[in-house]
Symmetry: C2
Subunit: 494 residues, 2 copies
C-alpha cells in the first residue's frame, strides 16, 4: 500500500510536471519576445559603444537598485538608512522568490538556483541529527560560555581540521574561533584588521556577499583584482589568478591612496570552482608576506570536491607558511556538511592578538550551546563522515553536476568543468546581443521570468559579461533547470 | 543503595565544605590584614578629600585596566586594538575565575556571583529539552532562512508575548526580530538608530555590558542619567528614576553638544530590581516622545518576578503607547528561561524601517535552525511553562533570595528588598573606610581573595560608592557566600 501510494504520488508529480512545462513554454515564448525588444532598447541607451562595463572597486551600480531602494527613513541614523537601503543587484529576484517559492504546494513557484546550498543530503543529515546523542543537555550548554566557542567544540574542530587538512602536526584548540557562520567571521576579522574605509584585496569574480560581510558593520571595503574571462594564453584557464595580477591590483590601489590591509583567497574557489595547487597558494601567501598583508584563506568547500582525483590541499597542510602570524584559515559546516541553517563557521589563526579581538566580538556572533554540542558530535563521528556522509554526498553531487553539465554541453554553452562545490560557472555570452552587463541582466531577468533565479556575473563583480553561476545541488531544481535551459535556447533560436 | 550512595556523597560534601571553611578562614585572616594596610595607603593616595568619585559619561577609568591592558598590536588596526584592549573593570576577577572555577573537582575554586545567571533549574530544563520533540529535523532548519528568525519561531514569540505581556490585541509576527541574544540586538539597534558617537541615555546604575553592546561594533555611546543612592525624600527609594532626572540629563547632554538618539529603560531593573508601574513607564515614554527619542525597553526579567504580589506590567500591555513607532521592546530566554547559553533574544517593534535594517544585520546575529526549533517548542508548551517551570523556578528563586537576604540582615547590610531577578543590590558602604570608588574596589578585591567574584557598583557606573550586586540564583554559591560574608564581617570587626 505504501509503495502504491508512492507510485500514485510519482504519477501525480509527473502529470503536474508536464502541465508545468506546457504553461512555462507558452508564457515564456510571449515574455521573451517582449523582453528582447526591451533589452534592445536598453542596450542602445546604456551601451552605445557595446563595450563591456568594467565594475569599479565596489559592486557595480545596479539598474535594479534605483526604483526599489526604500526611501530615507527619519527614524534611522544615516548609517541605519545606509544599512536598510543596501540592496544586492539580485534583490529583485530574491524578493520574487521569497514571495513565490517553488515547493510541493506551489509547483509553479520560482526555483532557487542562485543560493549556493546543498539540498541533496537531507535524508543523511536527518538520520544522524535525530540520534539520541544529539540531545544530551549538560549545564554548561545552557550557561554563558567562552564567546569564541565552547572548549569541547574548539578541541573537536582542531582535531577535525588536523585530520582532514592533513596538518603536519596537531592543530591547537587555542587557535580556533567558532562563530555563527563565516559571514560573521568576515565581519569580525574586518573590524579587527581594518579601520573604516581600509580595503581588502579580492580577485573577481567572487561570492558577492563578502562585500556586505566586511562592509555592513565594519565599513571595510573590497578592492577588486579583476580576472578576465578571455583566455589569454594556451596554458592559462579563464579567470586564472597569478601573483602578477595581485601585484598589479595592489599597485593600482596604492596609486589611488587606498590603504590595503589584507587579501582574501578562496580555495576551492566560489564561483570558479578552481582549486589552487600548493605551489600557487604558497606564491599568493608569499605575495601577502612581501607586502605585510593578512591572508584570509577561505576553504569552506574543502570537502566538497567530488572528482576522481582530489587535488585540494589545505594551507594547513603546508610544512611551513610564509607568514603564519598573518595567515587565517576559515572553514565551516554550511557547505561541506550541507547545513547553512546551523550557522557555524570556524577560524584557525596562530595570531593571538586577532584571536583576542575576535573573542571580544564573539559575544555578538556566538552559537547556541545545544548547537555547539550537535556540531561537536557530528565532527567526532568519523565513521559516519567517512563511510556514510562524504562518499554518498560526493556521489550525489557528481550525479547532479553531470546532469547539468550534460545539458550545458547539449546547448553548446561553455563552462568551467570543475568537479567541486555546488555550482557551475558558465558562459552564456552567446545569448547576449551585445557583450554588456545590461544585456547580462536582461538574460538574468529572462531566467527569472522563466521561474528560475540564478546569479549573474555582475553580482560577483565579474569583469567579463555573460557568465552565470548555476547551483545544481538540488535534484528537482536541476531537472527543471534543464528544461528551462532548453526552452531558453529554443526561444532564442526563434 | 542509590539513596545510601547519595547520603555518602552528601556526607563527603559536608566534610569537604567544613575543610574548605577552615582553609578559607585561616588564609582570609592573613590576606585581610595585608589588604587593609594596602587599601589605607591607596585611599590616601587617590582620594585625599574622601569625596565620592562621580563616574563620567563613560565607564570610570579603572585602576585595574592599566597594568592588564594588552600592548598595541602591529597586526591589528586602530579599531582592532581598541576592541582587543577593551577591558571591563571586573576583568581581573573574571580572568582569575576562568582560570580557577569552583566546581566538583575544584572545591576551593572561585565562585561566580557576578554573572547574572539562574543555575537553579537545570533539572527542569534538562528534562524538557531532552524530550523527543526537540530533535525533529526539518529541511528548512538546515538551510539558509529569514535572517530575522524563522517564521515559525517569530509567530510563536508573538503568541507568547501576547499572552504573557497581556497585550490588548494579538501581537504580530512581522514585528518580531530574533537574534542570538539581547547583546546582539543592542548592537544592531545602535547601528540602525545611531551614527558613530551618537548617544543613548541610560539611568545608572545599569547592567554594565550594555556599554560594550552599543559601543564595540557600532561606536554608539551611553550618556548616563545618574541616580543617587542617597535617600532624598521620604517616599522615594534610592536610585529612583523620574522624568525630571531624565530631562536634566538630556539638557546636560545637549549643552555638551551630545547628539542623543534614544533612551534605554530596563524593567524589571538590573541591578536595582525595581519594577516601574504602568504610570511611571508611560511618563518615561512620554518624555521620549516629547524629545523624539527612541525608547528601547528591556523587559528581559519580566517572568522572573517571584514576590507574592507581581506588579510587573509590560509596555506591550498598554492600550496606547505614546509613540509606538519609537518604542522597541526587548525580551529573551537567557533570564526567564535560565538559558543564556542558548543565545536567543527577541525584539518587538512596529517600526518597519528599524525591522528592515535589523533584517540586513540579522545575518551576523542569527540563531541556528535547530535551536530556533527547540525554542519554538518550549514557548509553545504552555502546560510545562505554567504548571512546571514557572512556579518551581519562582519557588527556588524565592528560597535562594530569602537565604541571601537573611544573611544580609544578620550582618546589618542594607539592601533593596525586591523579589525579582537573580540578584540583590546591597549597600556595603559601612565596610569602606572612606566613601570612595577605590575603597569599593578594595572591598571587591577582598571578596575575590575570599574566592567570590561579585559586581561592584562602579562596573555599573553607579554614582554612589559601596554598592554591590550579588547573584543568588545558585544554591551552592549562595550557601558559600553566606559563610564568606560572615568571615568578612568577622575579619572587619577584628
Amino acid at each position: 500500500r505504501s509503495a502504491q501510494g508512492k507510485e500514485t504520488m510519482a504519477e501525480r508529480c509527473a502529470v503536474q510536471g508536464r502541465e508545468h512545462d506546457l504553461r512555462l513554454l507558452s508564457t515564456f515564448a510571449g515574455a521573451l519576445v517582449a523582453a528582447r525588444g526591451h533589452a534592445a532598447q536598453q542596450c542602445q541607451a546604456s551601451s552605445p559603444h557595446s563595450t563591456p562595463q568594467r565594475p569599479g572597486t565596489s559592486a557595480p551600480a545596479s539598474p535594479l537598485t534605483g526604483p526599489q531602494t526604500p526611501p530615507h527613513s527619519k527614524h534611522l541614523s544615516r548609517r541605519g538608512n545606509r544599512i536598510r537601503q543596501h540592496q544586492g543587484i539580485l534583490q529583485e529576484g530574491y524578493t520574487q522568490y521569497h514571495a513565490d517559492k517553488h515547493g510541493e504546494n506551489n509547483p509553479n513557484g520560482i526555483i532557487n538556483m542562485g543560493t549556493s546550498e546543498n539540498k541533496l543530503c537531507h535524508d543523511l543529515l536527518h538520520k544522524r541529527l535525530s540520534q539520541p546523542d544529539m540531545v544530551q543537555i549538560q549545564p554548561p550548554m545552557l550557561q554563558y560560555a567562552d564567546w569564541k566557542g565552547h572548549r569541547f567544540l574548539r578541541e573537536e574542530v582542531a582535531r577535525f581540521l588536523s585530520h582532514y587538512c592533513q596538518s603536519p602536526s596537531p592543530l591547537k584548540a587555542d587557535n580556533v574561533v567558532v562563530m555563527n557562520g563565516c559571514g560573521s567571521l568576515f565581519s569580525a576579522i574586518a573590524a579587527a584588521l581594518c579601520d573604516p574605509e581600509d580595503a581588502i584585496l579580492i580577485p573577481t569574480p567572487f561570492y558577492g556577499v563578502i562585500t556586505e560581510d566586511v562592509g555592513l558593520y565594519s565599513s571595510a571595503r573590497l578592492y577588486h583584482v579583476h580576472l578576465s574571462g578571455e583566455v589569454s594564453g594556451i596554458c592559462e584557464p579563464p579567470f586564472h589568478l597569478t601573483v602578477e595580477k595581485l601585484e598589479g591590483a595592489l599597485n593600482r590601489a596604492k596609486a589611488e591612496g587606498v590603504n590595503v590591509k589584507a587579501v582574501i583567497l578562496v580555495n576551492p574557489h566560489n564561483p570558479l570552482g578552481e582549486i589552487y595547487s600548493a605551489e600557487e597558494m604558497t606564491s599568493f601567501l608569499e605575495f601577502a608576506k612581501k607586502h605585510e598583508l593578512h591572508a584570509i584563506v577561505d576553504e569552506i568547500y574543502m570537502l566538497s570536491v567530488f572528482g576522481e582525483r582530489n587535488s585540494f590541499c589545505s594551507v594547513l597542510s603546508h610544512d611551513r607558511l610564509p607568514d603564519p602570524q598573518r595567515t587565517h584559515v576559515m572553514w565551516g559546516l554550511s557547505k561541506d556538511f550541507a547545513m547553512g541553517g546551523m550557522r557555524v563557521g570556524t577560524l584557525y589563526s596562530e595570531n593571538r592578538h586577532l584571536v583576542e579581538a575576535l573573542d571580544h566580538l564573539g559575544y555578538f556572533h556566538c552559537v547556541s550551546g545545544t548547537t555547539q554540542h550537535q556540531v561537536a558530535r557530528l565532527l567526532q563521528d568519523r565513521a559516519w563522515i567517512d563511510w556514510e556522509f562524504l562518499p554518498e554526498n560526493r556521489r550525489r553531487l557528481q550525479e547532479a553536476h553531470h546532469y547539468l553539465t550534460t545539458e550545458l554541453q547539449g546547448l553548446g554553452v561553455p563552462y568551467l568543468h570543475r568537479p567541486v562545490g555546488f555550482f557551475v560557472w558558465a558562459d552564456f555570452s552567446k545569448y547576449l546581443r551585445q557583450p554588456s552587463f545590461s544585456e547580462e541582466l536582461e538574460l538574468w531577468r529572462h531566467f527569472l521570468r522563466n521561474r528560475v533565479v540564478l546569479s549573474c556575473g555582475q553580482a560577483f563583480s565579474c569583469s567579463t559579461p555573460g557568465w552565470f553561476r548555476i547551483v545544481f545541488a538540488d535534484q528537482e531544481s536541476c531537472l527543471q533547470l534543464g528544461q528551462n535551459l532548453c526552452f531558453l535556447s529554443l526561444a532564442f533560436c526563434v
